[in-house]
């Protein structure tokens, strides 16, 4: 059970950066929180009312105000700039793609479109399957993400990846899986009564298995 | 330690609690304050109404701009053009009404009743004309097939201009009431608030229009 109390097992290339940022913030926040709590509890006990005692008349302290304002500001702004790079890698640019899919969300399924043998999307030999996404390990997968009806959200916990699928616009998403296995693709944005339970399967395979599976699929949808 | 005495026992000024409803002009109201507020509560209130109206319009204008800047063709080929010339004239009508009402304010400060009534009536007439012209133009546009439902072009047009129209209508109704009161000689130099409040609101209604005109008709 314990291992479930933390992030699910990470299988993506940018996952470690995300987890690392989470931990950095975790420690900053822990220090701040513990400091605040200690101060609070100590004051609460130390300065509890006692007969015949009068509180000390202190109106404030400008030096302190300036100190804690600037310190917090610095910590937070630095944090923001640290996060920028990672964010840019994941959502703005990122490596050139090696495998290309189109994912089309609809109430309440993921339509995954593989480019046909010609390797191009949008040609008639394309192959569309519902909820079954197979990817080769160690390849940069680029997805054109969109939706047919309402907003859904493409979420793979193990990849640390989440991106809303918005009708009317195509959003580019990329990831690179580092471990073979079966993972879930839940929908993370409320999309109607079927939102709960809207999920696909992500299968990360060796290149060989992947090619074989893809070949079978094409063969099947030939006849 | 300094001897402490309470304020009220310092100078005894019993308050007669047998007032049915406290009215703001009551001298003891809001504490025996000597300094007068820098602005009457009513004026403050109307200014705040205007502030929130501005947020309302900026929401609409923001949405309009998003659609306007996204679309390649504006207006879309199929749909009728908006009546520029007539609306130029109408803009002039509305803006001149702002002038007349400012005259009315000037007049009331000099307690010149006949002048006041004349300018108020003029403003009212101009306001009504504006609405009438807008209305007739809308009828024509609908006839030419520009509907609320015809794309973001039709939608934003009717919502934005309609919202302004609703504000003008409200202003006209208010003006009408003010005119009636003015006919009864309600207002004079010492009692001009009624006119001033209405004028401020009317200024707002007039001031927002040119912006909408430029964005929706000319841009």
């Amino acid at each position: 059970m314990l291992e479930y109390l933390y992030f699910p097992h990470d299988i993506s290339t940018f996952g470690p950066q995300v987890d690392w940022l989470f931990e950095v913030i975790f420690w900053i926040v822990m220090i701040v929180w513990i400091a605040v709590m200690i101060a609070m509890v100590v004051f609460m006990i130390r300065y509890r009312t006692r007969p015949g005692r009068k509180a000390e008349y202190i109106e404030g302290n400008t030096r302190l105000e300036i100190i804690w304002t600037t310190v917090t500001a610095v910590i937070l702004v630095v944090l923001a700039f640290m996060s920028r790079a990672t964010w840019a890698d994941i959502k703005e640019h990122g490596p050139p793609g090696q495998v290309f899919y189109a994912v089309n969300a609809k109430q309440f399924n993921w339509e995954i479109t593989y480019p046909g043998p010609d390797g191009k999307l949008g040609t008639k030999d394309d192959l569309t399957v519902e909820n079954e996404m197979h990817v080769p390990i160690g390849k940069v997968v680029r997805i054109d993400l969109t939706s047919k009806d309402v907003i859904h959200s493409f979420f793979v916990p193990n990849l640390r990846l989440k991106q809303d699928a918005v009708p009317g616009r195509v959003i580019k998403v990329w990831f690179e899986a580092t471990e073979t296995g079966q993972y879930e693709i839940p929908c993370a944005e409320l999309c109607g009564f079927g939102h709960s339970g809207m999920k696909g399967n992500l299968t990360v395979q060796s290149q060989a298995d992947f090619d074989k599976w893809l070949a079978d699929q094409y063969a099947q949808n030939k006849q | 330690m300094a001897r402490a005495v309470t304020a009220s026992s310092a100078k005894v000024r019993p308050f007669v609690a047998r007032v049915r409803r406290i009215d703001p002009s009551d001298s003891t109201y809001g504490g025996d304050r000597r300094e007068r507020p820098f602005m009457s509560s009513a004026m403050l209130a109307i200014l705040m109404v205007i502030a929130s109206e501005m947020m309302l319009f900026s929401g609409l204008i923001g949405s309009f701009l998003i659609f306007r800047l996204q679309s390649a063709f504006w207006p879309p080929p199929a749909l009728p053009r908006l009546p520029i010339a007539v609306t130029w004239a109408n803009t002039f009508v509305l803006l001149s009404s702002a002038v007349t009402i400012s005259m009315a304010v000037r007049a009331v400060h000099q307690s010149r009743q006949r002048l006041l009534r004349r300018y108020l009536l003029a403003t009212l007439a101009l306001g009504v004309t504006f609405l009438a012209v807008q209305g007739s133009e809308w009828v024509r546009l609908v006839a030419h097939g520009l509907k609320l439902s015809s794309g973001s072009y039709g939608g934003t047009f009717y919502i934005l201009i309609g919202c302004h129209g609703a504000h003008v209508t409200a202003g006209v109704i208010w003006l009408a009431c003010v005119v009636v009161a003015a006919m009864r000689g309600r207002y004079n130099a010492r009692n001009a608030a009624g006119i001033e409040l209405c004028a401020v609101y009317w200024y707002f209604v007039c001031a927002i229009w040119p912006l909408l005109f430029v964005l929706v008709y000319l841009m």
Binding site: A55, L190 | G31, S41
Partner: protein, 584 residues
């Protein structure tokens, strides 16, 4: 003083009999009565919103099993007590809507705003008593409409309290017909109500302060309500715009949010969150103000850095307009824009930091009295800090990519809204109850309620952080449908049981409210030895607030343990020879 008070009190009594029952209790223009009306409305709605929460918790712990005692609910809303998905969606939608718009806002802004502003600035009533009454009744109408939407065919709105388009814009997407329309209409009407309210507050605070009550002598709770009113005034119209456009999409055949007709789904999110983020500070600022006053009073010490506190609230209000994008990091909004929103969002943590540290500074070297109000105020600080700190993770865009729309967010929501706003409400009610109802609240019962609530609250909402880290999505009615969530069902059960305790504990509070009203010890004029003006008049204050003249203010609100006098408090209105200069 007291003699004149007694005399006048008689006069007041006489004149109360003159006013008809209707004018005194129903269509009252007395700010104190209107405040009570808002309070009761809020508490009543709280029981409904809470009930929704309880049902949700049952569903999440024991998915698709019948809720005990709910077999009577007709299909399709429930199937012999079992909750279908759409009903679940309607439940968290209405839970959030009710809690935010009909519990926290009416109580924090409506009740405390109305009750405290005139009494604490030294005015005999609001600037516009009639408008004030109207504000309540319009709000009540909105409430009735919202509740009635449960009973229309298709059930209540089910697109989340954020009602993202296109889901909310096309009935077939949710299967909800009237519910969503009524939801929009109700909130538009509520907007009108709070517009009237905020105009009244701002005007009153600017124009009707008693002699000597300069802005920087206002109690912080008044500062907070003043700023809140400004936020309300400017934020709600934007929501009204969005709702109007949504209604037109639903009924008028327009396509503002529907890509099919050239609409833009993200437009809704921008409009909604441009309102939505100021809204969340609308819900916390009054709590901060209440906590400041209570903590200063019971530490018997001036608030630490009074001006810093006021400026911090002002800058929170200012910054709250430029951070809305942090709700849209994963929405497909330009990621570069996301980065800039991340920076502004981080920056908005700073003023909150100032406030936190100043509260601690107030405790320092104080002489702390542990009343129920004080406990709740301290809990406010502790819980708000937790909720605020969890906001830092979400502000960090890459981390938010993982925790967005998971229970991590739900945990944040409740730490700031229940741990913050509601503990603020508890603190405020126990502190001002004597002034509102003329009797003290029962301390023992109050402390029992506090401790159960405090413990149960943390047991309920802290584990949600862990659920969130495990990837548990929000707004799903059955976690069991996901393999990666099966192992943590235990946590969900634990949360639910704590939640039931938490809900039950609120009955203690209700009981205390009612019991104290009839049996509580009679309240003196100034039971807490506090400084602010509301404590210089009988409890409850007569019509017109002060039997004698309105007190004049000679100093700031937090002169506790001042060396100038022997007692450890020095009311704002108390005249001391050598400090008369302060008066003018």
């Amino acid at each position: 003083m007291s003699s004149t008070a007694a005399v006048a009190a008689h006069g007041v009594h006489a004149e109360h009999h003159q006013l008809s029952f209707l004018r005194t209790y129903v269509f009252s223009e007395d700010h104190k009565m209107i405040a009570r009306q808002f309070l009761f409305m809020g508490l009543f709605m709280m029981s409904i919103g809470g009930l929704m929460a309880m049902l949700m918790r049952w569903e999440l712990a024991f998915p698709e099993t019948a809720v005990p005692g709910f077999h009577w609910v007709p299909e399709p809303f429930m199937y012999d007590g079992a909750i279908p998905p759409n009903t679940y969606n309607a439940m968290f939608t209405m839970h959030a809507t009710i809690m935010i718009f009909f519990v926290v806002m009416p109580i924090l802004v409506g009740c405390f705003g109305n009750f405290l502003i005139p009494l604490m600035i030294g005015a005999r009533d609001m600037a516009f008593p009639k408008l004030n009454m109207l504000s309540f009744w319009v709000g009540a109408v909105a409430g009735v409409i919202m509740i009635s939407s449960f009973f229309v065919p298709g059930g209540a709105a089910a697109a989340g309290w954020t009602s993202y388009a296109p889901l909310s814009a096309v009935p077939i997407y949710t299967g909800v017909e009237w519910g969503q329309d009524l939801w929009c209409i109700s909130i538009i009407i509520l907007g009108a109500s709070s517009l009237m309210g905020s105009i009244n507050y701002i005007t009153t605070i600017i124009n009707m302060r008693t002699k000597g009550m300069y802005f920087f002598r206002l109690p912080l709770v008044i500062w907070s309500l003043f700023i809140t009113a400004i936020l309300l005034l400017l934020a709600l119209p934007v929501l009204t715009t969005a709702l109007a456009l949504l209604l037109f999409d639903r009924m008028g055949g327009t396509h503002f949010f529907l890509p099919a007709g050239g609409g833009e789904p993200l437009l809704w999110q921008h409009l909604f969150w441009f309102f939505g983020h100021p809204e969340v500070y609308i819900m916390i600022l009054p709590g901060m103000g209440i906590a400041s006053d209570v903590i200063a009073t019971f530490s018997r010490k001036p608030i630490f850095g009074y001006r810093a506190m006021a400026y911090a609230m002002i800058s929170i209000a200012g910054l709250s307009w430029i951070v809305w994008g942090h709700h849209m990091f994963q929405s497909g909004m330009d990621p570069a824009l996301g980065s800039s929103f991340m920076i502004t969002t981080m920056v908005i943590g700073v003023p909150s930091a100032i406030k936190t540290f100043n509260w601690l500074g107030t405790l320092y070297k104080g002489n702390i009295h542990y009343t129920t109000a004080m406990f709740n105020a301290l809990a406010f600080v502790a819980m708000f800090v937790i909720g605020g700190l969890s906001g830092i993770w979400m502000a960090c865009t890459p981390v938010d990519m993982y925790i967005h729309d998971t229970y991590f967010i739900v945990a944040h929501i409740h730490y700031v809204l229940f741990g913050g706003s509601l503990f603020g409400v508890f603190a405020g009610l126990t502190y001002w109850y004597p002034k509102m109802f003329g009797r003290m609240m029962n301390e023992t019962l109050g402390k029992i309620h506090f401790w159960i609530t405090f413990v149960a609250f943390n047991c309920t909402f802290f584990p949600m952080h862990i659920l969130g880290m495990a990837g548990h999505m929000r707004r799903i009615y059955n976690p069991q449908q996901y393999d990666f969530l099966k192992p943590i069902i235990g946590i969900n059960e634990f949360i639910s049981i704590s939640a039931f305790v938490l809900g039950a504990a609120q009955f203690l509070f209700l009981a205390n409210l009612i019991w104290s009203y009839f049996k509580g010890a009679k309240a003196t004029e100034n039971p807490w030895n506090a400084n602010t003006l509301e404590w210089t008049t009988p409890s409850p204050p007569p019509h017109g607030n002060w039997p004698g003249t309105v007190p004049i203010v000679y100093r700031g609100p937090y002169e506790y343990s001042s060396p100038e006098v022997a007692e450890d408090f020095l009311p704002q209105s108390q005249l001391i020879e050598h400090s008369t200069a302060a008066a003018d």
